[in-house]
């Protein structure tokens, strides 16, 4: 009975959608637009998050050593770095290596450093951090501790910059949620109007159903199903457009920023989110239809 009822609802809904195909297209496109914008925001947020994670991992903490640092002091600093859970890897860069790196990176300026003994490049420890290192105050207190150690002249890290990137990602996420919610509401209202139109154009049919004693669920079912199907169609359309947009963005980036950003590293939405978008679209459609049909009976 339940299955037969469902089949009846879907059959009626498909017929109804086809009969009112103009308004069907309208609400499907509205839902698709809302979910597409939401999807774009989700994708941008996901990619920014991934970027932050990748850059956090590469982020180095540089501990510059005084020129008169003793071996014992240097070993102490190294121990402090090695023992910290934020630090993944520690490498010593001696004064000579620092000079060599400078000469390699800036060959034009190399002759300016005439005296290989009295050059201004200090020795340093370069630490690679774990990816979560830019969250919280732990990194800051590590830096403060290192600054207070003997033989250390300066401590530098990219934390502020990463934090800014992270808050931008969060902001984009929130903005997306707000814009998406507003658009979803607009989509639900469109569905409401479309279903209300369908209810109006089929009022005679509804009256007949009422007269033969049809249960309210029987009368409402097809209309609610129409809303749900509109939502599902809209969501599918939105996901298709999103996939297209992502592949276009990959192509663009590959051409414009070759070498800077790896275009293939742009990620789409995970499968679970796809399912969520479709379910969300159906929920929006269902809500809109229920809103339209609430006065029946």
């Amino acid at each position: 009975m339940l299955f037969a009822g469902l089949r009846y609802f879907v059959g009626e809904a498909v017929t109804g959608l086809w009969r009112g195909r103009r308004s069907t297209v309208l609400s499907v496109v509205t839902i698709a637009a809302a979910l597409f914008v939401l999807g774009i925001f989700l994708t941008v947020t996901a990619n920014l998050d991934a970027l932050v994670a990748r850059w956090s991992e590469a982020a180095e903490l540089s501990v510059y050593l005084r020129d008169d640092v003793s071996l014992a002091e240097r070993a102490e600093v190294q121990r402090a770095l090695r023992g910290d859970p934020l630090v993944r890897e520690v490498q010593l860069v001696t004064r000579d290596e620092a000079l060599a790196r400078f000469r390699r990176d800036f060959p034009d300026l190399a002759p300016a450093v005439s005296n290989p003994q009295a050059h201004p490049f200090p020795a340093s420890f370069e630490a690679r951090l774990v990816s979560q290192a830019s969250e919280g105050d732990a990194l800051e207190s590590l830096a403060a501790r290192l600054r207070g150690m003997r033989g250390v002249s300066d401590v530098r890290y990219d934390r502020l910059w990463l934090q800014r990137l992270q808050s931008i990602a969060a902001l984009v996420g929130w903005g997306g949620a707000v814009v998406g919610a507003v658009l979803a509401l607009a989509a639900a209202l469109t569905v409401t109007n479309v279903v209300r139109l369908a209810l109006f154009s089929r009022r005679d049919e509804i009256q007949i159903m009422e007269l033969v004693g049809a249960p309210l669920s029987f009368i409402k079912g097809p209309f609610v199903m129409e809303g749900i199907l509109q939502g599902a169609l809209g969501a599918t359309l939105a996901l298709g457009a999103l996939a297209l947009a992502i592949s276009l963005a990959r192509g663009r980036l590959a051409a414009a920023a070759a070498g800077l950003i790896d275009a293939s590293s742009i990620v789409g939405l995970p499968a679970a989110t796809h399912v969520l978008v479709v379910v969300g679209g159906m929920a929006v459609g269902c809500l809109g239809a229920l809103l339209a049909a609430r006065r029946l009976g």
Partner: protein
């Protein structure tokens, strides 16, 4: 079957569509409702179908007062009443077969049984060959036969008809009336509103006459 006591229906402030109207219809009876235009025939049938609530009075159908039913009870009640209107009230987007079967579908009758019974009533009204046609492809007489088939398909205890022959020529009208008589002969109570006196005389059953919402002859 039907007991109506002191029934009044007031539209607006001073239009009495029915005024202190009483009548009894026995189980299995065939009764015509007649009277001039505006006498209140349609109003009475609408009240009997729970499409409208009376202003005062009692309407007992099958032992129950139908003026105080909850929405769910209205649904259950309507499933025991067949109705036929002048304008057929068929769903244009459904075939003849689907239109008739719909009244069974809502009862939760198994699919196979639904089809068998639908085919049976369509055959009875002589339209089995038009089962897959759409209502608008049929003549008025044929559409009314479909409506009658739908009214009958769930074997109601009571059939109400408002001007069922109003749109039909006299020969067809008689044919439709014969269908109602056949329905009646199986024990179903039939109430038909019409102002076709000729038809009433021809068919020859009890006729209740209304005038200005009051019982004139009954």
């Amino acid at each position: 079957m039907i007991e109506i006591e002191g029934l009044s229906k007031l539209y607006g402030r001073d239009v009495f569509a029915l005024e202190d109207f009483s009548m009894h219809v026995g189980k299995g009876e065939f009764v015509f409702l007649t009277g001039p235009s505006g006498a209140g025939k349609s109003t009475l049938l609408r009240i009997l179908l729970c499409q409208e609530a009376p202003t005062t009075g009692r309407v007992i159908v099958g032992g129950r007062d139908i003026t105080r039913l909850k929405p769910r009870e209205v649904q259950t009640y309507r499933r025991t009443v067949g109705f036929v209107f002048q304008d057929f009230k068929l769903i244009p987007g459904k075939t003849v077969f689907e239109n008739v079967m719909f009244a069974l579908r809502i009862l939760g009758v198994p699919d196979v049984q639904q089809r068998r019974r639908t085919f049976q009533v369509l055959k009875w009204v002589g339209l089995q060959h038009r089962a897959n046609a759409y209502p608008l492809e049929l003549s008025g007489g044929e559409q009314q036969r479909v409506a009658i088939a739908r009214a009958l398909v769930n074997e109601p205890a009571l059939v109400l008809a408002d001007e069922p022959t109003g749109n039909l020529d006299p020969d067809l009208a008689l044919e439709i009336m014969n269908l109602f008589r056949e329905i009646n002969s199986t024990g179903t109570t039939v109430l038909v509103a019409t102002h076709d006196r000729e038809l009433i005389r021809h068919v020859g059953h009890r006729a209740v006459t209304l005038d200005h919402g009051r019982l004139a002859i009954g």
